[in-house]
């Protein structure tokens, strides 16, 4: 027989994401506002990293929450709310890319100088110790395709298999773009350091 304690653990805690989502779906504006304030930074930071543009990130954050408002009733609690909202945000950004006709697979290093290693010279050009700001700045300079794969894999922790499904690209392409993105970041950070 279930004890009171057991029942309590099965019920969503008051003001948990699940509880707020349920109440928001029932039309309680205060519950939706609480969800907004709780997740605003997470959604905005993901949009900013994937888009590389603060104004677009604000617009996409707004669109994501507007979408959440319409669809919160479809959250079933099968996954964590944060995971569900995270995926919704990624989809929103990808839809935006598609509208802008950003071609994820056609982003290449064409026209750029490949890494040339000259024995005995490379260490002098080693990347300096980097901080968060330097890396954020370099990420924003990546082409959209590389930036998406790098942010989703190295920052957000998605696996290549998930990324390939989200972006509609082959898993091998995801791996290849991640590697190129890392090399490009290294190049950008080294160039920035040389200017300072």
């Amino acid at each position: 027989m279930a004890t009171v304690a057991d029942v309590e653990t099965l019920e969503p805690a008051a003001d948990s994401d699940v509880d707020l989502a349920r109440r928001a779906a029932e039309g309680e504006d205060a519950a939706f506002e609480a969800l907004y304030h709780r997740h605003f930074r997470r959604v905005y930071s993901l949009c900013l990293r994937m888009l590389g543009n603060p104004t677009e990130a604000e617009d996409l954050t707004q669109e994501t929450f507007a979408n959440l408002y319409r669809k919160v009733g479809s959250f079933r609690g099968d996954s964590q709310f944060t995971t569900w909202l995270h995926r919704m945000t990624v989809n929103q950004v990808l839809m935006h890319f598609r509208k802008r006709s950003v071609k994820m697979e056609k982003t290449t290093f064409e026209g750029e100088t490949p890494i040339q290693i000259v024995k005995g010279t490379e260490n002098a050009n080693r990347m300096p110790v980097i901080d968060r700001i330097a890396l954020e700045s370099a990420i924003q300079q990546l082409a959209p395709g590389y930036r998406s794969v790098f942010v989703l894999h190295d920052v957000e922790g998605y696996e290549h298999e998930e990324i390939s499904r989200m972006l509609g690209i082959a898993e091998g392409t995801s791996k290849s773009q991640l590697h190129k993105a890392r090399l490009k970041l290294r190049d950008l950070i080294r160039k920035q350091a040389a200017l300072n």
């Binding site: 930071s45 604000e58 890494i115 010279t121 260490n123 990347m127 791996k175």
Partner: protein
């Protein structure tokens, strides 16, 4: 294995996603090639720094309340 071949595989090497015989070839190359060791160390540094970006603590955020007001207008 030459430098170009080694550099091409460094991300997969970092992810421990290569066949053992390839791993041995890369390890052997890295023992004798400091430039490639440098690139591998840089990739490692980028990946470990990226991991700590997720919390977003250092980012400049827009005014949360203004965006909420915009959202409220858009919803109604």
């Amino acid at each position: 294995m030459n430098c170009s071949q080694a550099v091409e595989l460094l991300s997969e090497y970092y992810a421990d996603a290569l066949d053992e015989n390839i791993v041995v070839e890369i390890k052997t190359h890295l023992i004798e090639c400091q430039p490639c060791v440098g690139i591998f160390d840089d990739i490692t540094l980028i990946v470990t720094t990226a991991r700590i970006l997720q919390d977003g603590e250092h980012l400049p955020y827009p005014d949360e309340q203004i965006l909420w007001q915009r959202l409220s207008i858009a919803r109604h």
